[in-house]
Symmetry: C3
Subunit: 297 residues, 3 copies
Amino acid sequence: MAKRILFQFDIDSQPSSFDAVVAIDSGVDHLIPYAGVQATLIEPLVHGAMFTRGDKDLKNTAIFLGGSDVEAAETLLRCVTDAFFGPVRVSVMMDANGCNTTAAAAVVAAARHIDLAGSRAVVLSGTGPVGQRVSRLLARDGAHVTLTSRSRSRAQRVCDSVAQEIADASDAPPNLKAAAAGSPEEVTAVLSDAQIVVACGAAGVQLASENDLTSAQDLVVAIDLNAVPPSGLGGVAVMDKGSPISEGASAVGYGAIGVGGLKMKTHRAAIESLFESNDKVLNIDEIYQIAQAVDRR
Amino acid sequence: MAKRILFQFDIDSQPSSFDAVVAIDSGVDHLIPYAGVQATLIEPLVHGAMFTRGDKDLKNTAIFLGGSDVEAAETLLRCVTDAFFGPVRVSVMMDANGCNTTAAAAVVAAARHIDLAGSRAVVLSGTGPVGQRVSRLLARDGAHVTLTSRSRSRAQRVCDSVAQEIADASDAPPNLKAAAAGSPEEVTAVLSDAQIVVACGAAGVQLASENDLTSAQDLVVAIDLNAVPPSGLGGVAVMDKGSPISEGASAVGYGAIGVGGLKMKTHRAAIESLFESNDKVLNIDEIYQIAQAVDRR
Amino acid sequence: MAKRILFQFDIDSQPSSFDAVVAIDSGVDHLIPYAGVQATLIEPLVHGAMFTRGDKDLKNTAIFLGGSDVEAAETLLRCVTDAFFGPVRVSVMMDANGCNTTAAAAVVAAARHIDLAGSRAVVLSGTGPVGQRVSRLLARDGAHVTLTSRSRSRAQRVCDSVAQEIADASDAPPNLKAAAAGSPEEVTAVLSDAQIVVACGAAGVQLASENDLTSAQDLVVAIDLNAVPPSGLGGVAVMDKGSPISEGASAVGYGAIGVGGLKMKTHRAAIESLFESNDKVLNIDEIYQIAQAVDRR
């Protein structure tokens, strides 16, 4: 049988060692890392992957796109799929900076505790790659999403962009609104009726205090994706995994490592699934489906 | 048993993914790609490959030289063999840009249809790496070769160089002549008594029309090594593999993909043979022998 | 079972092919080489290696630090261990330029012929990475070491530094002294009562003549670590392995290749031992212990 080959196309000057280990733990026989991969130079690499194996074996060659620059990786993904010739193609997964597996695992964790359809969710500091993806998944599953930033206009621009992406995927219109959440008063206001809170801020910045969370009377689940102390949500520790956010509270919290187990399993399952056929394109929506399936096991 | 290690020394900034997959499909246990390999820096890499395993295991380490610059790879090959110490050496194969496997497969395909010795062959646009190698193989097997270029003087320079290479390998004097084939009249003239035509032009340039080929009354086989439409030889499609060049014609044609199957098998067989002993140097003549053996299987 | 992954972090623009082959021959399942690794960029690579596998499997991921610049590799080693979080760590080995395995093998070879404790040893041209390590190991095992250089003050600076390193490892005070050994007279003087001589000079420089060695009446063992002719010690050939330094002499000699067998076995045993637990840090002292164990087998 043809060996499983994964081309790790990484944008950074050194390919991610994290992605390398996960690939090997997902059953890849030969990992071939490339550093400093640029959009202008990727076509011959994709063609080399496509044109070397016959129909039957082609599914055993796949591509992983990683690195710390998510936008550049999105561009690379388009270049990769543009290089395909009809059915002559290989499966490809994009998870630069872990953005897709992290966002998918966070939303699946939230859905363990509340039906997303019709729920009220707040994505704090939601303008980055992970926040955008969390908002997209929540909105596509019917949640009423408030995406915040210190600047309301920046939040609005990102909402518009996420809404456009969802519309492009021809869904029901999403329920997404922007809010500023810079000052303590703004944070209190935005959380007042939230059932789900996901904090996607920069490392070491607290976005809401423990008091903010306990004052949010409808809160069901609070997820903090920041792994570096202090935690982004007061009262939620990095190892928390569905434990009460404070003594006696009904709302539960997840820290980055608490979500991390599902994230890792999703990453591995996604890599494994690349080799099931030669036509997978695993981006946020496909990886979310994988995370859901992994969580049901 | 010692694992089979192939060092892929590639001149380009990203090592060929094509060569990587073929190496793995040839039974290599560990592929170790190097990018941007330069002649001035290769000696310690070759020494590291030579001085790490004992006599018995040394044949399980080998070197592949690739990349898009064939001349630079030829220089690297000399540097590699210069770095050997007598019997302390490892096997090495050069196939930059697929030049050797492509040329070898094309000539073997032609030889399926006509005895090369004494045949009349035309190599259109024969001045590049593949054309030179096709001309060399045809001439060494006794064909009367006409090598063309738009510029007759350029064609002559390349003929002289190929003839010198053949003389250096101390063969019978080759029968090689240069011709200009820029204008339609020149093409018609050069093809008038050709039995074999091999087109080695740039992608997407037609070198002879279907009418040129059907008018060549002695034509037996026409091979077009250009994979990008329009085809280099009118009437020969990229997938053709020994089919008539036009309805009712006795001459047959091969397109780039039609030759590609044998090229791939030759590439794999060549990599496999590297591990039979520690003293192989696989360049055009050795790879041609491998292609002949593969075709007889 | 988790596959054995070795990250080869190499400082040079091309990772060492030597280190790659040895790693594979030591049972590594997946070797992942990195070129041009810099101290400022290593933390995320170390974290990626640490945070991808659970407790039980973490010992199957390890790091090798290599390249031609030993000082830079020492700095990298500090950066690697600084990036660990308590017990969340992976095993790491430093052997840039083979400095540790070479020095360890040389001292173990000497100890086959004389009890190091109380012996008189001279390390010629001992100021480089290998010479410093040879001096350190000899002194820690109780030898009276004279470290030479053409410049006495340079030799003294290196002695002070080696002595400080030994003191930092809280041993008994080492017996180390500096000497100039540039002129023939200085060489004769420094060798006059030597029992052990180890030559660590640059390739192709003779540090002592055959006459110098035969005139050293107490000499027991002479080791030349230079592999390029002429040999660093007259009368000691590169392949010598415990053979008399001249006809009828009782002193024996080792050349670079004579020491090389033990060096290679030590290198392989060290790589294998990385995967026994996740907390090894293999630098000169640890690698010396491994060389001793390998030699006793």
